[in-house]
């Protein structure tokens, strides 16, 4: 009785994979092929905005030989690392509160943390611009309370860029941390408490080691996004803080050296991929050691 249905189901099944074709073609045409070509052409000779010539390592050579580029690279890496660490720590704090505390403020806290997601990165950056201007609210407040005599130049400092980036990336860190705290069986924590460990000791000895992979994942995510983030560095950096992303834009739009822009983009990818794989490797090794 079921055999005709099975037959039609089998026929239908065989046609189904075609439905993935449009999405596959889309991702190939707009993403995979263009980025592959970018990688390949970063080792070709450019004349301004056009690829003209044969294989060359000049794009990378002139970058890596440039002390300015090396300082931008180093700035970007440590700014991203600080952002990643701050996001992971604050994300864990918020996530642990939301998942475990049982407080009636949980929903409110989640709502506040998620709410910036409805606005664009630009809007949030603008908020920081208003706050941190020379005549901005923070300086106003500092002067008014007499904590400082002259306005502090926040805009153009790495502090401002880091604040802006953490603000943008915190929701992602909270989501990542929430799912890893949720995956810890509360029974383990209760057992530790029943055996006499205090809440702090339980957190440090039981919860923290169990959620470490999640924390590392959160760090990797926020670190990698920071490496290529444009808006915060461009606006809050006030033209004085240069990161790899603003450098790409600079080479593309201002100095029209597209070959260098491609090479910087590849550097962003390589630094991101290197860090992610190093952390994954370290994570795997430490788990084996346990």
């Amino acid at each position: 009785m079921t055999s005709p249905t099975l037959a039609t189901r089998a026929r239908r099944r065989s046609r189904l994979p075609w439905l993935t074709l449009p999405a596959t073609v889309w991702v190939l045409a707009v993403f995979a092929i263009p980025t592959a070509i970018l990688l390949a052409s970063s080792v070709l000779t450019y004349d301004g905005a056009t690829v003209t010539g044969p294989f060359t390592t000049a794009n990378y050579g002139s970058l890596l030989g440039d002390g300015y580029f090396r300082s931008v690279l180093w700035d970007t890496v440590w700014i991203s690392a600080v952002v990643g660490l701050l996001c992971s720590a604050a994300g864990l704090l918020v996530a642990h509160f939301i998942v475990r505390s049982g407080s009636r403020w949980r929903t409110l806290v989640l709502l506040v943390v998620v709410s910036p997601l409805v606005s664009s990165v630009v809007v949030r950056t603008y908020g920081w611009l208003v706050l941190l201007q020379g005549d901005g609210l923070v300086n106003n407040m500092l002067l008014w309370t007499g904590l400082t005599d002259s306005p502090i130049a926040f805009i153009g400092s790495k502090f401002a860029v880091i604040a802006g980036l953490v603000h943008v990336l915190l929701p992602f860190a909270v989501f990542t941390a929430m799912s890893s705290v949720q995956s810890v069986d509360p029974v383990l924590e209760r057992a530790s408490r029943d055996l006499g460990a205090g809440p702090v000791r339980t957190f440090l000895r039981i919860t923290l080691p169990l959620i470490r992979p999640g924390l590392i994942a959160g760090f990797m995510l926020t670190f990698a996004i920071s490496l290529g983030a444009y808006a915060a560095a461009a606006v809050l950096g006030g033209g004085r803080v240069q990161t790899l992303a603003t450098l790409v834009r600079d080479r593309m739009v201002v100095s029209l050296e597209w070959g260098q822009a491609a090479a910087v983009a590849v550097v962003i990818l390589v630094v991101g991929a290197f860090t992610v794989s190093a952390l994954l490797l370290a994570g795997r090794r430490s788990r084996k050691g346990v």
């Binding site: 189904l16 999405a23 409805v118 606005s119 664009s120 996004i225």
Partner: protein
């Protein structure tokens, strides 16, 4: 109750983090309704003077263009992504994980790199004439597809294939089964996916960075260009308008779907 310093510490840190998140947002709102160029502390009064220059063609046109691009790319992502999600959840399992990973891979690379590679390819093909709204729709949809894939995939988890089989056994055609059984059940996932795709496109900066032209500047890009060179409270009004727009759309949408269901990927 015992005095517990760690609870105190946690509350203090948590308050600090929440203030850090909320204050810049509140400041934007406040800037838009006060009279000073640089909002004063203590506050000096209320005024709507900045709104006059915000609600002009200069800002309303990019806002409309951003909305059009967002609708277009969300629609593309919805159609293409739903088809793929349906096939992936019902089709043969072989190669499924790899294909899912491939379709989500655009989320792994920095958007600025994607933007750069698209513009370089376009100019290699001597097709710089294509730079404009249509190209933005195509590129934004790239980021929308993974969202739709995920939300529709999550709602298809809730559709038991037996229900579809029951409809078929009772004599419904495949098309009728799809429209009367499957489609209504995955509708909430499609809705949520389209909404996420819309927001991601409407607010997008880095993907659009190299793909806008003088006659096709999206709202976030225009805001950014202004902010890099000058400071004006007018931008606060523009920002508030765009956020209110998104909130209205999300509010209407949440009457139809429980959006939180999709944030954790349906781990109920």
């Amino acid at each position: 109750m015992r005095f517990r310093p760690w609870i105190l510490l946690r509350t203090a840190l948590l308050t600090l983090v929440l203030a850090f998140v909320a204050v810049p947002m509140a400041v934007v709102l406040w800037t838009s309704v006060q009279p000073d160029t640089y909002p004063a502390f203590p506050p000096s009064g209320l005024s709507l003077r900045w709104w006059e220059s915000a609600l002009t063609r200069e800002w309303l046109l990019p806002m409309a263009l951003s909305a059009e691009i967002a609708v277009g790319s969300a629609a593309c992502a919805l159609v293409v992504g739903t088809a793929a999600a349906y096939a992936l959840s019902r089709g043969p399992v072989r190669g499924r994980a790899a294909l899912e990973g491939f379709l989500a891979s655009p989320l792994l690379l920095p958007e600025i790199v994607i933007s750069l590679s698209v513009v370089q390819l376009i100019s290699m093909l001597s097709a710089r004439g294509f730079i404009g709204p249509a190209l933005l729709v195509v590129t934004h949809a790239l980021i929308g597809i993974p969202f739709v894939l995920r939300t529709v995939g999550v709602s298809l988890l809730g559709v038991n294939p037996l229900w579809e089989r029951a409809a078929r056994d009772l004599g419904a055609s495949p098309w009728r089964t799809f429209t009367t059984v499957t489609l209504p059940l995955m509708r909430s996932g499609m809705f949520a996916g389209a909404l996420f795709a819309f927001i991601v496109s409407f607010n997008n900066v880095e993907l659009s960075l190299f793909l806008t032209s003088r006659d096709a500047t999206t709202l976030p890009i225009q805001l950014l260009q202004y902010m890099e060179f000058q400071y004006s409270p007018t931008l606060a009004c523009v920002a508030v308008t765009s956020v209110v727009g998104i909130c209205v759309i999300a509010g209407v949408a949440s009457r139809f779907v429980r959006l939180t269901e999709f944030i954790h990927g349906g781990t109920k």
